[in-house]
């Protein structure tokens, strides 16, 4: 019994994070055109069936520094991920943050603002209604959380496709003045990135002609690298990971589903089974407006989404 007590004490940080971060019930702001309704799996109290069918998760990444008030943050990264356990196929579709869409909360704006108007429920609902997909769950992580996560797993190996130089990279993570800037130089080629440099690689966009589109490609590279590294984790690593992620992670998945996903994730070992989709031209294009909006070519996007997210 005392051994069990010792074990429980060891896993307390992980349990605490699991209770605080998982099972977030999606509260969706009603919208006339909204197609979303909370799925049973989005409730922590729901009974979790074995994961056998395909499911879709919306990954959200935000800068959550002191520029923002509370949970009213922008989502700099929105990636739809569909997992088909039976065929071990994964599809990742990056949604440009500057895409001009109808928000589930009403009105039109850049899609990165959906979360700030209505939290994760609004972000999920906006993607569901505009892209005509069903989303089972969401995972949200803050910038600092991503840095800490990558450090907690000992860094990641990435082949950075090109040098990333940025003279006006936001110095908002560790700076006292969140509107400050710093210079960034990430070299190209195979390398081991710690959390801070991985963040610089995926977040910088000033030096990329494709701006957010180029950044989306880099984000997918880093996501795959994190998954590759996470395969080496053991259950005993969970407390350290939990301590790193405290307050920087939210998900609608219940504890049971998270537990089922862990062995599933480690069984995906073929990088070629991961489809990576970026909505570059002709799927999206600049509108020539004063703001940096991207307009969507829904006639091309929706068939593509239907193909990979049926």
């Amino acid at each position: 019994m005392s051994a069990v007590a010792g074990g429980l004490a060891y896993f307390i940080p992980a349990a605490q994070l699991a209770i605080e971060s998982t099972g977030k019930v999606l509260q969706v702001t009603p919208s006339p055109s909204m197609l979303f309704s909370p799925s049973p799996s989005s409730s922590a109290a729901a009974t979790v069936a074995p994961i056998s069918g395909a499911f879709t998760v919306l990954l959200l990444g935000s800068d959550d520094d002191s520029k923002f008030i509370g949970d009213h943050v922008l989502t700099q990264s929105m990636i739809l991920v569909r997992v088909v356990p039976s065929t071990k196929q994964v599809t990742m579709l990056s949604i440009p943050r500057d895409l001009y869409v109808h928000l589930s909360t009403g009105g039109s704006a850049k899609i990165d603002g959906a979360y700030s108007y209505g939290g994760p429920g609004a972000a999920v609902a906006t993607v569901e209604q505009d892209f005509n997909v069903h989303i089972d769950d969401f995972i949200w992580i803050g910038l600092l959380g991503l840095v800490k996560l990558i450090d907690a797993i000992g860094g990641i190996d990435v082949v950075t496709s090109n040098p990333v130089f940025d003279d006006y990279y936001p110095a908002d993570i560790y700076s006292n003045w969140p509107y400050d800037y710093e210079r960034v130089a990430v070299f190209a080629g195979p390398q081991h990135l710690d959390g801070l440099h991985a963040m610089q690689y995926v977040r910088s966009r000033h030096g990329d002609l494709q701006s957010d589109i180029g950044r989306s490609q880099r984000q997918q590279q880093v996501l795959i690298a994190i998954r590759q590294k996470a395969r080496q984790l053991s259950p005993e690593d969970l407390p350290a990971l939990s301590a790193a992620l405290g307050g920087e992670l939210k998900t609608s998945m219940g504890l049971g589903k998270v537990a089922q996903l862990l062995p599933l994730a480690s069984s995906f070992d073929n990088p070629d089974s991961i489809n990576q989709i970026i909505l570059a031209n002709p799927y999206t294009h600049g509108c020539g407006c004063p703001e940096t909006y991207l307009t969507a070519n829904w006639g091309l996007i929706l068939p593509l989404v239907h193909q990979y997210f049926p």
Partner: protein, 375 residues
Amino acid sequence: MIPRFVLGVALAAVMVVVGTFSYIYLGSKQSKIAAPPEKPTVSSPRAQSLVLPGTLYLTQSGALYDLAAGRFHQLTGEEGWTQPSATPDGNSLLAVRQNALFSDVYVLNRFGRVQRQVTDNASHQRFQDIGYNYWSFYPRLSPDGQTLWMTYDGLKCHPECFDVSLAVWAMPFNGNIRQAHAWTDGGYYTGGDVQPIPIAGGVMYTKYSYGPDGKLVGQLWFTGRAGSFGRPLTDPSVDCRSPSVSPDGNQFAMVCTYEKQVSYLTIATWSGETIGPLKSIITNQLVAQPTWAPDGSGIAYLAPGAPAGPFQLWWLPKAAYAPPPPSPSPSPTPGGPHNGPLPSPSPIPAAPAVKPIQVTTNNGFDATSPMLWLG
């Protein structure tokens, strides 16, 4: 008869010990993936490992190290040092010292003591605009020691735009940055031209540009004249970078990724004008920074020691990529003692495949910094 009180205390003590033990035991079962790399000087290459010829210079955590006679020595503090190269006589080192705003080229002696600062890239503007700082990277001296080659962001369009693509520049080694001039244009929002290597007739470098599929890729280029357009040596689809010249100047090693999250250690012959067919000699590791041994006995490179781990030093003997020609099989002597039917030849045993050797295990070398190998 043991008193109940003593029994209770003993049981409580056992519970505390077992609980603590299980807590500590679980902690000990954590994976080691988050363990920070050791300093190279903490654990030099294993005693049974080979001793590499000459002196190899590498960087880890912003410090310069050398590896000579099987032992590492730390030459500088962890102060942003990276990308070492050498003067033609091998008596001094060139290296970049980088901070959060700018980087400069320095000359150091072989023990890591700074002898002089070559560039001055810190902003001298009165107002606080960090865009007036500059980067210098990948310093190389011409064979005559008169010209410093480097990549530099002196062509950036600040403050009109955000592009910070680097270009290949040359400047008098004993001059200053105002005497530098660009040899290439660095492209537009691509990252630019990096890793210049002065060779006979011009300079070879890695150019990043948009390939036919719209993705940014690396290509080896060569140019023989400042301001000329230059010409590509490798195809965009092969996505190559990090060229390294063999000691005899007749071969190049490079890293090619085929636009994927893999990297192949690739070699090719060099005629002085064109390169020969590419030959991948390592395809199952995430290789970086191939560097030829000064005596031509092999190639050192960096690659993870464990999957997705920090980069270690590896060594590939020459026999792995340039095996010696097979010795001729003995032919029967006519009229010799054996006059009957010729025996069927016994199969020649295949030469054992020469595999790369992992030299270090717990370090975390900077895979973006070229290594320097002096004889």
